[in-house]
C-alpha cells in the first residue's frame, strides 16, 4: 500500500501535527503502574490486530513493515521512527487514510490496548521472542512457608493466588474428592464398596493407594483413550457424504492398552507416528500408525482422486501440528501463516513426511479397507498362514521339470486349457466353447448394438470407447489360478490411454479390483489388484504396441501372487516389464455372491476406453501358456511344431500348489484389515501447491521442519521416524509443553494455556508460565512418564481443594484460572451415560472390540441411506466410548453432550448446557431404563427412605442431604399416588428398554422409583463432578 518513501513522508507529516491523546486513553495510561512486557501484553495486540498486514505472510504484507521479527528488523527496513511516534500517531488517528488498524479491516484497538502500546513505545519498544518458541525454562520454585503446599505445583499456584489477594481453599470432602479422582482417572464413579473401603483406610496412605489402584485399573486406559480419540479424529465411519462403516477398533484398542501399559509419551507417539518404520516393527507397532489414517476418506463417485489424496496428507500434517506441537499448522497451507513464523514452503515440507504412502483419494465402493493396510492375525491364524506359506515355498522350490521326452504338436497343445474363445464370426457373438455365453455390449444404462467391422479373421467388434463388451462369466479367476488372456488387437494411433480388457467392476470406484491390461501413456500396463494402488501387482512396459495394425496381445499369469508371475506378450514376444507394485495378499474377486463380473473388452464403466479400436479372436486359458504357445497364437510359430508334453508329476504338483495357494488365499481373505502407514520405497515427490490446491503444483520440496525450531539439536529429520525422534529432542520448545498442558486440561477442564490447540501468537498466554515449564521439564526428566505428571497433579493441594466458592470469589475469577478453589465440571458425554449405567448396575465392563449400537431413535441414519440396527443384551450397556461413531450422524445421546463429530483433530471439547441435554436425560431410553433399574434399589430396600438414600449414593457417591432426602421422599409419594390413581401413566416407565422388572405385583413401586431415580440422574449432584 505504501512505499517506504511514502511511509517516510507520512511520518514527517504526522510528526508535525500528530493527533492528541484522547482522555480515555490518557486515563488508561495513568492506570498502568508496572512496566509492560512484550510477551505479556503487547504481542497479543500486535498479532491480533496488526499481523494480518504486518506479520509473517509475505504476500499480504503492507508497507514492507512487519512486527513479528523484532526491533532490529523494523529499524533496518523502515527506520527507528516507526517504533517511536509513527505507531502512536497511527493508532490514535481518526483519519481513515492513516488510522491503524484501517477501517476496512473491521478491527479496532481498545483504549487500554492503545495505552499499552503507547507505554510500550515510551519504554523503548522492546521485543521478546514468542514464549512458545523457546525451550521451557526451569525457574526456582516460589518459596512460601505454608503447610497448604503439598508439591511444587502448589508453589506456583499459591504465588498467583496470593498475588491476586485470594486464599486457597481447604481440601474437599472425602467422598467428593474420591468421586472426582475416579472420574478423572477411570471415567467411572466409585462403587459403594470402594467408597466404604476408602473411608475405612488409614488417611495417610489411602489417597496414594487409590491413585495406584486406579492407574492400574483396565478402565484407566479407557478414560485416557477418549481424549486421545478426539485428538486422533477416530470414528467408525469413513466420513464425507457416503460415510460408510469402517472398523478401526483394533487401533482404538491399541490406544487403551498403551495407556494401561503406561507407555511413555515419546514411545506412545513414536509408534503412532512411525511405528511402521521402527527396526523389526511388530504388528502392534504397525497397527499404532493407524493414528495417521483416522481422517475422513471419500468414496463419492465423481471425485478426482488426487484432490482427496492431498486432503488426507494435509489432514495428517495438520493433525501432527495441532496434536504434538499445538500449532494451527493448517493455516499455512494456502499462504504463509498470518500470525506464526510458518511459511507455506515449510508447511509443504512437513506435509511431505505424510505424503509418502501408496493410497487412493477415492476409496473403494465395495467397502475394501483403504490401502495400505495391515492384515490382523491372532497367533493361531498366524501359525496357519506361516505353515501354508512354508509349504507353498517348498512346493515352488521343488517342482519337477516341466518337460518330458514325449512331444505333441502346438495345435494340439493349444487346445489344452482353453476355456473360452470368441471369434465374433457368427451371427450370434457366442463363445465357441460354450454357446450360451454371448458377448454383449453394455453401458451403465443399457445394452448397445455391437457394430462389427473387418477383423483379424472374419469380423471383429468396432469399439466406441464407452460401451464395454461383456464376455459373460469368462475369465473369472482368483489370484491362485494360473491363466492366460490372448487376443488380436487393432488400436488407433491417436489413443494414448484406455482399457483394452479387464475383469472388474468399472474403474476407480471399485479401486480396480480384478485384473486389466490397458494403454497408459502410450505404454502397456498390466494390473492385478485386490485394492489399488497398494494391494496389487503392477507391471509396465514403456514400449507399448504397434498401432493402426493388427497386433497380437497376450497376458499370462502363473498363480503366484507375485509380479514376476505376470507376463505381457506383443506379437508373441515377451515384453520387459518394470515392476511398479508387488504386493498382493488378498482375493482379487469382488466380495459378492452373485453377479461377479467376468472379462470385459474395450471400455470400463466410468473409465477411459479404446474408441475405434477392434479386438478379435479372444482366447482364455486356465493355465499359463508357454512362450512358444503364445508365439503360435501370434502366428509367429507354425502350429505343426512339436513341443514337449508336461509330465503328470509336474501337473500333480501344480494342482497341489494351486490348492495350497487357494487355502492361503481363503484363510487370509476373511481376516480383518486396518489402515496403517507404509512408507513407499520410491518416495513420492511433494510439491508446494499454489493456494493449497491439488492441481496447482509449483516446485518440489524436501522434508524438513520449520526454521522456528532451530534450537532443536537433532539433525534435520528426513522421514517420519526421524520426525518423531525430532519431536522428543529435549530442546523442542513445544512437545512437552503441549502434552502437559493437555494433561492439566484433563484434570482442570481448562489448560494452563487455554487454547490447547494453539500455542502460537494468536493463542492464549499461559496462566502459569513457570508452572507449565516446570511440568514440561519434569516430564522430559522423567522419561516422558505421563503418569508421573498425572500423579503430581492429583496429589497437589491445588487439585484437592473444595470447589465451594462465594459469589465474590467467583466474580474475582469466574473461570477459576487462578486455582484458588477446586474445579467443578459437568461430566463429559461418555461419563454422564456411564455414570447412569454404573449407578443402575447395567454397565457392561468388557474392554475393546468392535463398536456397539445402543439405543438410538429410529430413522436417524436415513438421511444417509443407512439403517441403525440396535444391538441387544450386553452391547446396549457397554461404556459409551464404544458407541458406534458415525461422523455424519453422531449418536445423539453423546453428541448432545458435546462429544465432537471427530472429523478433525480436536484437542478440547466444548462444555455446554442446553435444553436438548435436559431432554436426553429426561427421555432418552438409555436414561429412562437406567432410572428404572436404579429404582429397583428403592423397591427392594427395607424402606423407601433407605432405598432413596442408597439410590442417591449410587448415582452421586455422596449421601443426600436431609432436604434432598425429603424432596425425593415427597416425589416418591407423589408418584406412587399418581400411578395408583392412573396405572396407564406407568406404561413407559415400566416398558422402556430391554430389561424387565422382576416383580409384576410391585409395578407401581417400580414406576415411582423409576421417576425418583430419574430425578436423581438428572440432578446436578449426578452430572457434575465437583
Amino acid at each position: 500500500m505504501f512505499s517506504p518513501y511514502k511511509v517516510f513522508l507520512i511520518l514527517l507529516l504526522l510528526n508535525a501535527c500528530g493527533p492528541s491523546l484522547p482522555d480515555e486513553v490518557a486515563d488508561e495510561l495513568a492506570g498502568i503502574r508496572q512496566p509492560v512486557g512484550f510477551n505479556d501484553h503487547i504481542r497479543s495486540i500486535l498479532s491480533d490486530r496488526c499481523y494480518t498486514c504486518h506479520g509473517p505472510d509475505e504476500n499480504s504484507r503492507e508497507a514492507d513493515l512487519r512486527f513479528d521479527l523484532g526491533r532490529e528488523h523494523i529499524i533496518a527496513s523502515s527506520g527507528a521512527e516507526v517504533l517511536k511516534d509513527l505507531l502512536v500517531d497511527r493508532i490514535l488517528s481518526s483519519d481513515p487514510e492513516a488510522m491503524m488498524p484501517p477501517p476496512e479491516s473491521n478491527l479496532e484497538l481498545s483504549d487500554l490496548e492503545k495505552a499499552l502500546l503507547i507505554r510500550w513505545v515510551d519504554e523503548g519498544a522492546k521485543f521478546q521472542k514468542h514464549w512458545a518458541w523457546t525451550s521451557p525454562q526451569v525457574s526456582d520454585l516460589p518459596k512460601f512457608s505454608t503447610d497448604w503446599i503439598r508439591n511444587p505445583i502448589d508453589n506456583f499456584t499459591f504465588a498467583k493466588i496470593t498475588s491476586a489477594n485470594l486464599q486457597p481453599k481447604e481440601q474437599a470432602d472425602d467422598v467428593v474428592l474420591l468421586r472426582r479422582l475416579y472420574f478423572d482417572l477411570i471415567g467411572l464413579p466409585p462403587t459403594l464398596e470402594e467408597i466404604e473401603q476408602y473411608l475405612s483406610t488409614d488417611p495417610k496412605i489411602r489417597w496414594e493407594n487409590t491413585i495406584d489402584s486406579l492407574m492400574a485399573s483396565p478402565h484407566y486406559g479407557e478414560r485416557m483413550a477418549v481424549e486421545w480419540l478426539d485428538l486422533s479424529r477416530y470414528a467408525d465411519t469413513h466420513g464425507y457424504t457416503v460415510d460408510r462403516y469402517r472398523d478401526m477398533s483394533p487401533w482404538r484398542d491399541w490406544v487403551i492398552e498403551a495407556f494401561n501399559n503406561h507407555l511413555p509419551y515419546n514411545q506412545f507417539v513414536t509408534e503412532q507416528l512411525a511405528g511402521d518404520m521402527l527396526p523389526n516393527a511388530t504388528s502392534q507397532q504397525i497397527l499404532a500408525t493407524g493414528f495417521n489414517r483416522n481422517h475422513p476418506q471419500n468414496m463419492e463417485g465423481g471425485i478426482v482422486s488426487e484432490e482427496f489424496r492431498i486432503e488426507y496428507a494435509a489432514d495428517r500434517a495438520n493433525t501432527f501440528g495441532t496434536a504434538f506441537l499445538g500449532l494451527t499448522f493448517g493455516c499455512a497451507r494456502c499462504h504463509d501463516h498470518k500470525y506464526d513464523p510458518i511459511s507455506q514452503e515449510e508447511y509443504f515440507q512437513v506435509f511431505s513426511y505424510f505424503d509418502n504412502i501408496n493410497e487412493s483419494g477415492q476409496i473403494s465402493f465395495d467397502n475394501a479397507t483403504p490401502v495400505p493396510t495391515l492384515v490382523l492375525m491372532d497367533e493361531e491364524v498366524a501359525a496357519i498362514v506361516e505353515m501354508l506359506e512354508r509349504e507353498i515355498t517348498d512346493l515352488e522350490e521343488n517342482m519337477q521339470p516341466p518337460s518330458s521326452e514325449r512331444m505333441i504338436r502346438l495345435k494340439q497343445s493349444l487346445n489344452t486349457g482353453l476355456v473360452a474363445h470368441f471369434d465374433f464370426d457368427r451371427p450370434i457373438l457366442s463363445d465357441r466353447l460354450k454357446s450360451s455365453r454371448i458377448a454383449i455390449a453394455k453401458t451403465s444404462t443399457q445394452s448397445q448394438e455391437i457394430l462389427l467391422g473387418d477383423g483379424y479373421s472374419g469380423k471383429a467388434p468396432v469399439l466406441d470407447g464407452d460401451a464395454w463388451l461383456d464376455l459373460g462369466n469368462s475369465g473369472l479367476f482368483d489370484r491362485e489360478q494360473p491363466f492366460t488372456i490372448a487376443m488380436w488387437a487393432w488400436i488407433p494411433k491417436a489413443l494414448k490411454n484406455g482399457t483394452i480388457f479387464h475383469k472388474g467392476e468399472g474403474a476407480i470406484l471399485y479401486n480396480f479390483r480384478g485384473y486389466h491390461v490397458a494403454l497408459r501413456d502410450n505404454g502397456l500396463e498390466v494390473v492385478m489388484a485386490r485394492t489399488l494402488p497398494d494391494n496389487a501387482l503392477v507391471g509396465y512396459s514403456a514400449s507399448g504396441m504397434p498401432r493402426d495394425q493388427w497386433v497380437h496381445l497376450t497376458m499370462t499369469y502363473d498363480g503366484s501372487s507375485k509380479a514376476s508371475g505376470l507376463s505381457l506378450y506383443v506379437d508373441g514376444k515377451i515384453q520387459d516389464l518394470v515392476i511398479e507394485q508387488d504386493n498382493l495378499n488378498k482375493s482379487i474377486l469382488l466380495s459378492r455372491d452373485k453377479n461377479q463380473p467376468g472379462l470385459q473388452l474395450g471400455a470400463r464403466w466410468r473409465g477411459l476406453g479404446i474408441k475405434d479400436a477392434r479386438l478379435d479372436e479372444v482366447r482364455v486359458y486356465d493355465r499359463t501358456l508357454r512362450e512358444i504357445e503364445v508365439a503360435a497364437l501370434a502366428d509367429k510359430e507354425d502350429l505343426g511344431t512339436q513341443i514337449a508334453v508336461i509330465p503328470s508329476a509336474h501337473k500333480k504338483q501344480e494342482v497341489e500348489l494351486r490348492e495350497k495357494r487357494r487355502q492361503l488365499n481363503h484363510t487370509v481373505d476373511s481376516l480383518q484389515e486396518v489402515m496403517v502407514m507404509k512408507e513407499m520405497t520410491q518416495p513420492r515427490p511433494t510439491f508446494l501447491l499454489d493456494r493449497g490446491q491439488y492441481d496447482a503444483p509449483l516446485h518440489q520440496v524436501t522434508p524438513d521442519v520449520p526454521a522456528l525450531f532451530a534450537s532443536s539439536t537433532t539433525e534435520q529429520p528426513n522421514n517420519r521416524l526421524e520426525l518423531a525422534e525430532w519431536l522428543f529432542d529435549p530442546n523442542n520448545p513445544l512437545t512437552a509443553r503441549v502434552v502437559v498442558n493437555r494433561i492439566w486440561q484433563t484434570f482442570f477442564g481448562i489448560g494452563l494455556v487455554e487454547t490447547s490447540e494453539d500455542f502460537g501468537s494468536q493463542g492464549s498466554r499461559p496462566s502459569h508460565p513457570q508452572l507449565l515449564d516446570w511440568l514440561a521439564t519434569e516430564l522430559i526428566q522423567h522419561n516422558w512418564d505421563i503418569q508421573h505428571i498425572q500423579r503430581l497433579i492429583v496429589t497437589s493441594a491445588t487439585y484437592l481443594q473444595t470447589s465451594h466458592a462465594t459469589a465474590e470469589e467467583r466474580t474475582a475469577d469466574p473461570q477459576n484460572r487462578l486455582y484458588a478453589r477446586g474445579t467443578a465440571r459437568r461430566l463429559t458425554a461418555e461419563m454422564v451415560r456411564d455414570n447412569a449405567l454404573a449407578a443402575s448396575g447395567l454397565l457392561a465392563t468388557k474392554i475393546g472390540g468392535p463398536s456397539v449400537k445402543p439405543y438410538q431413535p429410529a430413522g436417524l441414519w436415513k438421511v444417509n441411506q443407512s439403517t441403525y440396527e440396535e444391538d441387544h443384551g450386553e452391547n446396549l450397556y457397554r461404556r459409551s466410548m464404544y458407541t458406534v461413531w458415525k461422523r455424519s450422524v453422531p449418536h445423539p445421546t453423546l453428541h448432545t453432550f458435546d462429544a465432537p463429530e471427530r472429523s478433525e483433530c480436536m484437542p478440547r471439547r466444548q462444555e455446554t448446557n442446553t435444553p436438548m441435554q435436559s431432554l436426553v436425560l429426561l427421555n432418552d431410553p438409555t436414561f429412562v431404563e437406567a432410572a428404572r433399574v436404579l429404582g429397583k434399589t428403592i423397591v427392594s430396600a427395607a424402606s423407601p427412605t433407605k432405598g432413596i438414600e442408597l439410590a442417591f449414593r449410587r448415582a452421586c457417591s455422596r449421601s443426600p442431604a436431609a432436604e434432598e432426602q425429603q424432596l425425593l421422599q415427597d416425589l416418591y409419594d407423589q408418584e406412587i399416588d399418581r400411578f395408583q390413581k392412573d396405572p396407564s401413566k406407568m406404561k413407559g416407565w415400566l416398558q422402556i428398554g430391554e430389561s424387565q422388572i422382576d416383580d409384576d405385583s410391585r409395578r407401581v413401586q417400580y414406576a415411582a422409583s423409576g421417576v425418583v431415580a430419574s430425578a436423581i440422574l438428572n440432578s446436578d449432584a449426578a452430572i457434575v463432578r465437583r
Binding site: N106, L116, T443, D464, T914, L922
Partner: protein
C-alpha cells in the same frame, strides 16, 4: 519469562471481555441454551443497516436440479441435439470422474416444452405448472456458480461457505449473530423430506462448526417424536412431567445453595425451556388445525407428515411463530441417468407445495419480512452422461452455472438476474458466486458479512471467508 500480571489490565481486560460477551448474550442467548466456557466473541455491534428480512426459509433441492430442463431455457439446443459439444464451449473445464472419461459428449436438448409466464414473461418448462403461477413474485438468479463439482464439497460449500468440513452452517451463523426471536422454539430448525433417496445428507450441513453447539440446527422429524427425546415415557403427560420437574428444580436449588455455582441456575433454566418445548413443538407440529383449503393449496401430500409438501406447510407454521431460519432439504435431484423420468417425479413431488408456500406466506403478509430461497448445490451438464436416445439422457454435475430463486422480503419481484451462454454451460452475464450469494443473504438480514466473525484457532472466520460482494441489483 515474565510472569507478573498487571492488575489494572487484568481488571480492565475482564471488563472489556465481559461487556463484549454481555452484548452478544443479549443478542444470542435470550433463551436458547447457555454456555459456561468461552465468552461469545460476537463482533456485530449493531446491525449496519435496517434488515428487511426477519426470517428465512431455504428450500434446498439436494442433488443438483437441472437448470436446463427447468429455468434456463436454451432454444438453440434443439439444433445441436445429438451433436458433439463444441470444445469452444467446454473449454477443457474439469469434469467429474463419472463422465470425464466418456469418449463422446453429445448435447442433450431438454425434452420438455417451455413457455413464458406472468407479466414478467418468465420462461419456465412444463415441469413446474404451479410455480409458473408465482413467477412474478420471484427473483431468479441464472448465473449462480460454485467451486465444487461433487456433492459433498458442493453442498458443504453452499451451506457453510467452505468445501471442507468444520465451518458453521448458514443457520448457525444467523443463530450466533442474531439470536432467537421466540422463547419456546429453537431459532434454527431443519426439516428433511422423508423417503428422500438420492445423495446422502449429514448433520454437518446444519452443524455449528466451531461455534458453540447451541447454535446448531435442531432437526424436526415427522412422526411421533418430532424432536429427539421430546416425548415423555408413554402415559406420562405434561402435567406429570411438570410436577416431577418441580422436584428436580428444588433438588438442584439445594445443590446451588450448597455450592454457589451459577451454572446450576443455568441448568434449571434449560430444563424450563425443555419443558416449554415439550408443549410448543407438538403444537406447531400438529397440522390438524389447518383448514382443508390450505391442505388443498399445498397438495394432497401435505396431509402425509414428513413429505416435502407437509414440511412446507410446517415451515409456514414455524415462520409464523418467528423461527428465524427454517432449512428444508429435499433429496433426489441427482439425475446422472434417466433424467427425464427422474426430474418429472421430483417436480411432481415439490412444485405445488413450493408455490403454495410462497402464496400462503403472501396471503398472510409474512412475505413482507420473510425470504424464501429455492435451489440446489450445482447445476447439470448440457451434454449427456451415458447414452443419448430418443427419450432418455442423463446429466452430470455442473458447477459453472445454475439457477436458484428467492422470493419475498428485500428482493425484486418478477426479476431475472444473470444469463448463460447458448448452451447453458457458462455464465454469459452477471455471475454470482456462492460467496456473493451468502453476502447478499446476510445483507438482507441487516448484517455486514465482513463483520459477522468468530475467532477460532487464532483466525477470524466469516461465512464468506475472505470473499463475497453484496449483489445490490437483486435488492428491492
Amino acid at each position: 519469562m515474565s510472569d507478573q500480571p498487571i492488575q489494572n489490565m487484568r481488571r480492565r481486560d475482564f471488563l472489556t471481555r465481559s461487556s463484549l460477551s454481555l452484548g452478544s448474550l443479549a443478542l444470542s442467548q435470550l433463551s436458547w441454551g447457555a454456555n459456561n466456557v468461552n465468552p461469545v466473541q460476537n463482533r456485530i455491534k449493531s446491525n449496519t443497516h435496517k434488515p428487511k428480512v426477519r426470517r428465512i426459509v431455504y428450500l434446498f433441492q439436494s442433488g443438483g436440479p437441472s437448470q436446463l430442463d427447468t429455468w434456463d431455457y436454451k432454444p438453440e439446443l434443439q439444433k445441436w441435439h445429438g451433436s458433439e459439444m463444441p470444445s469452444s464451449i467446454m473449454q477443457g473445464q474439469r469434469l467429474t470422474g463419472m463422465s470425464g472419461n466418456q469418449s463422446a459428449f453429445p448435447v442433450a436438448s431438454p425434452m420438455f416444452s417451455f413457455q413464458q409466464y406472468g407479466e414478467s414473461g418468465t420462461w419456465l418448462s412444463e415441469l413446474m405448472p404451479y410455480t409458473s403461477e408465482i413467477v412474478d413474485d420471484l427473483c431468479i438468479i441464472k448465473s449462480l456458480n460454485t467451486d465444487a463439482i461433487n456433492h459433498d464439497p458442493a453442498i458443504t460449500f453452499l451451506q457453510t461457505g467452505s468445501q471442507l468440513p468444520g465451518r458453521p452452517s448458514i443457520g448457525a451463523w444467523l443463530n450466533y449473530g442474531l439470536g432467537s426471536m421466540n422463547d419456546n422454539l429453537p431459532s434454527f430448525i431443519v426439516l428433511v423430506s422423508k423417503n428422500g433417496g438420492g445423495q446422502p445428507l449429514y448433520a454437518r450441513l446444519w452443524g455449528n462448526g466451531f461455534l458453540e453447539s447451541r447454535h446448531q440446527g435442531v432437526q424436526f422429524r415427522s412422526g411421533a417424536d418430532p424432536v429427539l427425546y421430546l416425548n415423555n415415557p408413554d402415559g406420562y403427560d405434561g402435567v406429570d412431567r411438570r410436577e416431577m420437574l418441580d422436584y428436580l428444580r428444588k433438588l438442584n436449588q439445594v445443590q446451588q445453595e450448597a455450592w454457589g455455582d451459577p451454572e446450576i441456575a443455568s441448568r434449571i433454566a434449560q430444563y424450563e425451556l425443555a419443558y416449554r418445548m415439550q408443549t410448543s413443538v407438538p403444537e406447531v407440529n400438529d397440522l390438524s388445525d389447518e383448514p382443508d383449503h390450505i391442505f388443498d393449496l399445498y397438495g394432497p401430500d401435505s396431509r402425509d407428515p414428513g413429505t416435502y409438501a407437509a414440511n412446507c406447510l410446517l415451515a409456514r407454521r414455524l415462520l409464523e411463530r418467528d423461527v428465524k431460519f427454517v432449512q428444508l432439504y429435499h433429496q433426489g435431484w441427482d439425475q446422472h441417468l434417466h433424467l427425464p423420468k427422474g426430474i418429472r417425479n421430483q417436480c411432481k413431488n415439490t412444485d405445488q407445495a413450493t408455490a403454495a408456500l410462497v402464496k400462503d406466506l403472501g396471503q398472510r403478509g409474512l412475505l413482507d419480512d420473510t425470504l424464501v430461497i429455492w435451489g440446489g448445490e450445482f447445476g447439470r451438464t448440457v451434454y449427456t452422461q451415458g447414452k443419448l436416445t430418443r427419450d432418455n439422457y442423463g446429466r452430470d454435475h455442473h458447477p459453472r452455472c445454475f439457477t436458484v430463486w428467492m422470493a419475498g422480503a428485500g428482493v425484486k419481484k418478477g426479476f431475472t438476474y444473470g444469463s448463460t451462454d447458448d448452451f447453458g454451460y457458462s455464465v454469459a452475464k452477471d455471475p454470482i458466486h456462492v460467496h456473493d450469494f451468502h453476502a447478499t443473504l446476510l445483507h438482507l438480514l441487516g448484517i455486514d458479512h465482513e463483520q459477522l466473525t468468530f475467532k477460532h484457532q487464532g483466525r477470524r472466520y466469516r461465512l464468506t471467508d475472505v470473499h463475497g460482494h453484496v449483489v445490490k441489483d437483486l435488492l428491492s
